[in-house]
Symmetry: C2
Subunit: 268 residues, 2 copies
DNA sequence: CTTGACTCTCCCCCAGGGGCAGTGCTTATA
DNA sequence: TATAAGCACTGCCCCTGGGGGAGAGTCAAG
């Protein structure tokens, strides 16, 4: 029984285009080809091969691989090595996509949070903060090197991070060159090493202000905050904190006018 | 500060080829192009864009999608819809690969088993079989329609299948036209419907023989089996079973000379 | 000035086809 | 019998995201 390409396409669920391609690549050669018209005619043996090709394609083998398998193997026992290799490959791919999926999920969640808390700006507020577990990387140098610290923490603590980046300042006042500070992330769990310190950051009473705008105008907000503290005659406890609620994002640098930064000074 | 394409390639970890492609597609246009030599020069703003592109590419966005996103969005908030859509897409892909992975895994396991049990052929043996849960599809007709039944069962019970395909014969003798039989699979669990019956198949004492070779020589093996039973004067209990240990595979039709079929007749 | 390291454009390659043009073949209907 | 569907054929260009290389031009240092 011979079938034209159209009929064969229907019974094998392979497109006509694909069948012609497979003929070209000598993957699936029609039983006979009319030498005048060029019409392809397929038979039952072609059907077996077509079924095999379809299964292998569903298993995500490339045409080149399928060709090799069809040359090499006549029974399923022969192709176990191919199948096992492909299985491994697919599982690696699943792992990769799971990693990507987690990354995207994290960004979406973070963004959701930060759009929710977008009010009450530039108002000094007294409140209590919870004690929380952090992973920090203590540095000495210029403030703009802080990015390296966050990069390191992100790489090493990646999946344990459960909050926004913060920076702890151990100097009471502004320093140009050898300031002491510690970029850190809240984490769920994790262990430190000689570079990264994982520990509890003590909570308590604090004075806080949410600053909206680029970082180079932070000075004004600090002034407001310290004026308030002076007026109330509170005692300051180091380190104080900057929480980067919304800054240059993972993807876009964003507009600095919309950056949100919470300044927190602990008081006794 | 301007960088040549080679320098820029190093600091962005994008290949020179890619950078030229992105220029072509107007995804990442160099800050300046020498109009005589055609040399591309990149600056810091290009660097931001390059970082964005790299992240999005890691998130598996296509260049076309990235282009659209770069046109549409200037902040991360703008692209949440894109991210969420991509997240969904990736999770779908994970599911697809998990299905494929399971299928391949099953084939590999089945093949392993069947190569292990490749001895003791054509020897009548008395033994006990366990009671086991099966999903069956009762049919009346010609024996060679059995394939349809297996296809249906495979489609509907797919992931619960935990053993080799079997066929139950409800007629004592061979019938040409309207034989009664029931293709079935052992399953771990599952519920039936008006077409598929899920139930326990009673175990017990039986006489068994492993037939090696094509199905059209089964008659000889059946003769051997029934001669044995007659000699021992056992009583036969219906249905009897054929277990297709190794038949035309999921992928290859294979060589009928190597097919393995176990014939089981239950005795009282 | 030379030389070696860069860079340019252009072309071919990969997989798995989609889509279209122009032509040829068979068969059914008016 | 003429014609119109309905298939089939080849061949060309298109898509993605680049890799590889040829041949020619450019830049900077010795």
């Amino acid at each position: 029984m011979l079938y034209t390409i159209g009929e064969f396409s229907k019974i094998t669920a392979l497109s006509i285009k694909s069948l012609r391609l497979y003929h070209d690549k000598e993957l699936l050669v029609p039983a006979s080809v009319d030498e005048f018209t060029g019409y392809r005619y397929y038979d039952d043996r072609n059907f077996d091969t077509a079924r095999t090709i379809k299964v292998l394609k569903d298993f995500d083998f490339s045409l080149a691989e399928i060709n090799e398998i069809l040359q090499d193997c006549s029974e399923e026992a022969d192709m176990m090595t191919y199948l096992e290799a492909k299985l491994q490959e697919i599982q690696d791919r699943i792992k990769h996509y799971e990693t990507v999926s987690r990354s995207i999920h994290m960004i979406v969640e973070i963004e959701k949070e930060s759009t929710m808390s977008d009010n009450s700006e530039f108002v000094v507020e007294e409140k209590n903060v919870e004690t929380l577990l952090i992973a920090g990387y203590r540095m000495t140098g210029r403030y703009d090197e802080v990015g390296k610290g966050f990069a390191l923490l992100g790489k090493r603590m990646g999946r344990h991070i459960c909050g926004k980046p913060m920076n702890l300042y151990y100097d009471g006042e502004y320093k140009e060159g050898d300031a002491e500070f510690e970029p850190c992330f809240p984490v769920r769990k994790g262990t430190g090493d000689n570079e990264i310190s994982v520990r509890e950051l003590q909570g308590g009473k604090c004075v806080s202000l949410i600053h909206k705008g680029p970082y180079d105008t932070l000075g004004q907000s600090y002034k407001k905050l310290f004026d308030y503290i002076k007026e109330k005659e509170y005692e300051i406890a180091l380190p104080h904190r900057e929480i980067y609620i919304k800054g240059p994002g993972m993807i876009f640098k964003g507009n600095p006018k919309n950056y949100l930064t919470e300044l927190i000074v602990m008081i006794d």
